[in-house]
């Protein structure tokens, strides 16, 4: 098991106090691809931000690798996320000032475990695995949506994290690209032993996941 939540509640206070997540208790197994699906507004994104430790303002507990996330300071949390979690967004969010290779290298340069040459080597390997090696030196904004999303996945993988969290990674792509990205994520799970959590409302994705969790109005139906 890579991740466990206990009775997570989440409230927003704008425009008035309302509960968005309602007693979420989950266990996510290692090496599985788990989908979270449900209608728009059901709380998938909110849950994923919490699971990826970006949002620590919630009630209940979150354990990743058996570490209680709430016990980490802000700086420790940043490091923890850098090391153990890769995040892929619906919109690729590559940094336009940097070329494809540099974008992928950024998390590893921050981690500082390897020197620049090693990191570069890792990044090139990832590009090859994801089939975008030809774009290494290109500005990230000159790629198509599907290509950019692949770069984002490479970036999420560069530090070899155990957990990949993807919020509607295909939400912005056509069917063909969508299939490619999902296939990639499945491959990462199968071949690299990563745990992957995907929020989606695409049946093609959640029906083909190792496990599918439905969200309804801030609660999960297991």
């Amino acid at each position: 098991m890579i991740l466990e939540t206990k009775h997570i509640n989440k409230y927003f206070y704008e425009p008035e106090k309302h509960q968005v997540l309602n007693g979420i208790s989950l266990q996510i197994a290692s090496g599985e691809l788990t989908s979270v699906y449900g209608e728009s507004g059901s709380g998938k994104s909110t849950l994923l931000y919490i699971l990826s430790t970006l949002d620590s303002d919630f009630e209940g507990s979150l354990y990743i690798h058996d570490r209680d996330i709430k016990e980490l300071s802000a700086a420790e949390l940043t490091n923890f996320r850098n090391k153990h979690i890769g995040f892929v967004y619906q919109f690729h969010y590559l940094l336009p000032e940097f070329n494809v290779l540099q974008n992928i290298m950024l998390p590893a340069m921050k981690l500082g475990k390897k020197d620049k040459e090693e990191i570069k080597h890792d990044a090139v390997m990832l590009l090859e695995e994801l089939g975008i090696q030809d774009f290494a030196k290109r500005s990230s904004y000159k790629l198509s949506g599907g290509q950019q999303q692949r770069v984002a996945i490479a970036r999420a993988l560069i530090n070899d994290p155990a957990l990949i969290v993807a919020d509607e990674p295909t939400g912005n792509l056509d069917q063909k690209n969508s299939d490619v990205i999902f296939a990639l994520l499945k491959e990462i799970t199968a071949n690299k032993g990563k745990s992957v959590i995907i929020a989606t409302h695409d049946p093609k994705i959640y029906q083909n996941s190792d496990r599918a969790i439905e969200m309804i109005d801030g609660s999960v139906r297991l």
Partner: protein, 405 residues
């Protein structure tokens, strides 16, 4: 923590951001550069003028002057007027010889006189000096334009003139003058030297003439009208107060009284330099603030992404502060260079002698410390201005931004 923050990756990111907005970065750099340039040019110029005046005035004039009090005008005018001599000069000498703060002192006999040259005649005054003590007071060698200095006053009819006075009388070294004293006595003089202190207030009126001859002509062999004092520490005002208490029938004036306009002028120039420089650096700082602020607003998404991939608030602050620092450093260095160039150009510009100072070119200081000061100020202002947007950037909440699309 800081060791983690200052690393090549963060510096690399900062550079990428600067290069991505070349035009704005250039403008910000120019802003800082102009601020620093102005600061350096102003301070070089203003302190140059101040130092020049200080040198001319304080090395050309005594720090304290003791002079005889004007006697009440007698009701009936007398011919053959006697000049007012100081009383008890021996006592004053005795008093001064015991003082610690005294560099040197000298007696003078100053008398009104009319100077007549072949083409002009001018009312003025004659400074009768004792060459051996006067040369301890004034470094005339440095000021000599033509002819000889105090040593020539061994001839009893030798006179030295300030350059402006010599010009007005249309005379130069070797020419003759006639001097007419209030008692009607007159004498033919030979000009043995012409000097300049660089300021008209001195060069227009000052003469040096052997005191002995003057005393003889006046028929007052022991008359001393002034005692001039040079202090070791000019700002120690203790002596003036003490002298005022001990010497009754005399006027005591120090350099501050005598040079009020120059003292005030120096102050005004100081204030001007600092306030204008401060204002300009403020403008440059505001420019930096503005540009970085806009970057932070435009880059909120990127900042959010950096945060999700492991960059801490401290990293983000560093990345943005680094941009300020780079611009500040570049602007300050270029500013110092340009400041030097402009200062040099001003210092090489020929200058018509004005009513006040007599120089060939503007007096400009070239002190390294001003450049260091300008560069430090430039960088500090820019970084201070950059700090607030940087802080703002570090507070970007990744969830809010990423969700907000």
């Amino acid at each position: 923590m800081s060791k983690q923050v200052i690393n090549s990756t963060n510096i690399f990111i900062a550079f990428q951001y600067l290069l991505a907005r070349k035009k704005q970065s250039l403008l910000a750099t120019i802003g800082v550069m102009l601020g620093v340039t102005t600061f350096i040019v102003m301070i070089n110029f203003m302190t140059g003028v101040n130092d020049f005046l200080d040198d001319a005035v304080f090395n050309g004039s005594p720090d304290i002057i003791i002079s005889a009090k004007q006697k009440k005008l007698s009701s009936k005018p007398i011919f053959g007027v006697r000049i007012n001599s100081l009383e008890k000069v021996k006592n004053i000498d005795h008093l001064l010889s015991k003082e610690n703060n005294i560099q040197s002192f000298a007696h003078q006999v100053i008398s009104p006189a009319i100077l007549v040259s072949e083409s002009k005649q001018l009312p003025g005054s004659i400074n009768g000096v004792f060459p051996s003590s006067e040369k301890e007071m004034v470094d005339l060698k440095r000021r000599l334009i033509e002819g000889k200095g105090f040593e020539s006053l061994t001839e009893e009819n030798a006179i030295l003139l300030g350059i402006s006075l010599a010009k007005k009388l249309q005379v130069s070294v070797g020419d003759h003058l006639k001097m007419i004293l209030p008692n009607g006595k007159s004498m033919h003089l030979k000009i043995t030297g012409v000097f300049s202190f660089g300021i008209t207030t001195i060069d227009n009126v000052r003469t040096y003439f052997p005191a002995k001859t003057l005393q003889n002509l006046l028929g007052q062999n022991d008359a001393i009208t002034h005692v001039h004092i040079k202090l070791k520490d000019r700002d120690d005002v203790g002596l003036k107060t003490e002298l005022s208490q001990q010497i009754g029938a005399a006027t005591i004036e120090d350099w501050k009284d005598a040079n009020k306009t120059i003292v005030i002028g120096n102050k005004v120039r100081d204030i001007l330099t600092w306030s204008v420089s401060f204002a300009l650096l403020l403008v440059a700082g505001f420019g930096m603030y503005n540009i970085l602020n806009i970057t932070v607003i435009h880059k909120r998404k990127d900042i959010a992404v950096l945060k999700t991939i492991g960059y801490s608030a401290a990293d983000i602050i560093f990345v943005f502060l680094m941009q300020s620092a780079i611009i500040g450093l570049l602007g300050a260095l270029f500013g110092a260079g340009l400041g030097y160039l402009i200062s040099y150009m001003i210092s090489a510009t020929p200058l018509d002698t004005s009513d006040f100072i007599i120089v060939d070119t503007y007096p400009i200081n070239f002190k390294l410390v001003y450049y260091v000061l300008g560069i430090v100020f430039g960088i500090l202002t820019t970084m201070l201005a950059g700090y607030f947007p940087s802080k703002k950037a570090s507070k970007v909440d990744p969830v809010t931004i990423i969700r907000g699309i």
